[in-house]
Symmetry: C2
Subunit: 226 residues, 2 copies
Amino acid sequence: MVEQVSTPRKRGPKRTLSEERVTETALALVDREGGAALSVRRVAAELGVRPNALYTYVPDRAGLERALVEWVMLQADLAHLDGPARAWRSRIRDYALALRAALLDHPAVAPLLMTAPMDGPAALAVGERLIAAFEDAGLTGKAPARACWVLIVYVVGAVALDVAETDGTLPLASEEERVAQRRERFAFVPAEDWPRTAASTGTMAEWVTERQFAWGLDRVLVGLAG
Amino acid sequence: MVEQVSTPRKRGPKRTLSEERVTETALALVDREGGAALSVRRVAAELGVRPNALYTYVPDRAGLERALVEWVMLQADLAHLDGPARAWRSRIRDYALALRAALLDHPAVAPLLMTAPMDGPAALAVGERLIAAFEDAGLTGKAPARACWVLIVYVVGAVALDVAETDGTLPLASEEERVAQRRERFAFVPAEDWPRTAASTGTMAEWVTERQFAWGLDRVLVGLAG
DNA sequence: CCTTTCGTTGTACGGCGTACAGAGTTTGTA
DNA sequence: TACAAACTCTGTACGCCGTACAACGAAAGG
């Protein structure tokens, strides 16, 4: 006899919502109006419900944010991290690029990654596979776990800095547009005060590109595992 | 005749405050009560003034946050980045450690670094010298500016993730205490589901240490400049 | 002296997170 | 079958928040 695992049917009235509905509504809201628009009251309004009704599905506003983080992290396919040991570099590389893409698909969520401990199930799942990949790269002892942290810092930090220059709403401006904006902003750096900066504005404008991200990623991987 | 540069004495009544006083009061507030306590009204109250009086010194709440970021970044001594070309590695290393320390001295400010573009004068000054240091390391073309971004991402990302596990108030728990807390949190990771994670909890608990930061920093620098 | 300029206050508005009590619905048990 | 318990949602309220706007008083220029 298998124990009844499917909905033991609780007592009270049927729920009109679900944690999923709440999370996805919140996600749609921040995608449309940016991170500043996120609030318990706004999400409740979108769902046609009084604000306090949400507290059935989410412990508090911070919990709502955690749910968003969890949801978005799950969008990056962990399968990228699986594969033959000899392919460890492309496994990590592909996953990092996928995670970046997932975060850029919901830019308002990226800052939330750095405002709470990353200890959800999604983060655990990533860590587990990332450590395995670094072991496949030949790292031993403490090195795999340490390298795992460095990689997470790099990916999450890079996306957070990128997104900090946007309003967090979708659709995000194209890479070209964002680079052009940055080029304009850097145009007035005085060359007498900051010669090297003034000479590098072209490259610095490209800091927000996938090419720059991939360049840095490859350098980091070289440093971590040769 | 040199133009009068010292206080041309404006018309209205004397100011009772200064941008510095506002910034430093805000900083003391967040150091004491954490980032969530930061508000225009709280800072005004600390200064014995109505909330709207602050708008003389700061454009809005976001401007207040930017001022905090600027103030804290200036605490990391840029002189670390100067020195002989052959010492490029220790120059960058020392500065990165100093910047981390400055941010940890005001933990509530660290998250603010990722919520607005890093384009203030302090950031420019860092970039200028960091690019020079990477040129001294032998990088040419776009590489110095690209490496500069990677390093900033690493430092700021690392500190932000560290701080995300604290309440942002001073004094911060000691490194040992924070590691011990993390060890407890990881103690219940089920080894059957996450074998590598479970085997690595000791190392993962140490992710918030200066040793881990320095380890990653060295790997990143190796990747960037051999 | 009078006008202009400017820092500060008083007041107000709309929004926020969430605590608390009560009403209504569903289920398990007597 | 009736009742009690459990649970979800609403109504209401409190104390915060950022900041717009008008009015007042102090200082300086002509």
